[in-house]
């Protein structure tokens, strides 16, 4: 089975608890297999999601917002 990898930038994360919150919300999306967060405390963190199906920017954005954070532009 092929997997899709999606990377988004997320602002406002400061610690491991933030990483857990975001990971948990994203892992609850249909088809998501892994969530990998490169934490940049107080800056822009990189979140990479692998999934068995394509994820829409809006569902990712909503999951991140649900955790209390914001997806920002990739060139930010």
């Amino acid at each position: 089975m092929s997997t899709t990898s999606t990377t988004v930038n997320v602002s406002g994360m400061t610690c491991g608890h933030c990483v857990s919150s975001v990971s948990e919300e994203l892992e609850s999306l249909a088809g998501v297999e892994t969530v990998d967060v490169e934490l940049n405390a107080g800056g822009i963190s990189t979140v990479t999601i692998t999934s068995s199906q394509e994820l829409s920017p809006s569902e990712i954005g909503e999951a991140v917002a649900e955790a209390g954070y914001l997806v920002v532009a990739n060139d930010a």
Copy 2:
């Protein structure tokens, strides 16, 4: 019933999740009634505990450490 108020400085807390973790651990100590955290993200946060009995520095220190943070000197 009289209550005792104890204030300690805690380093390393960065967000509301950290506040919750520390509060939860301290609230589990015998006699603790309220825990109030003044978060200074990335700096020294002030934690005020009211309790029905005197708390020892070591039990406070251990509870804070259990949450993953460090009590630092009051004059730090």
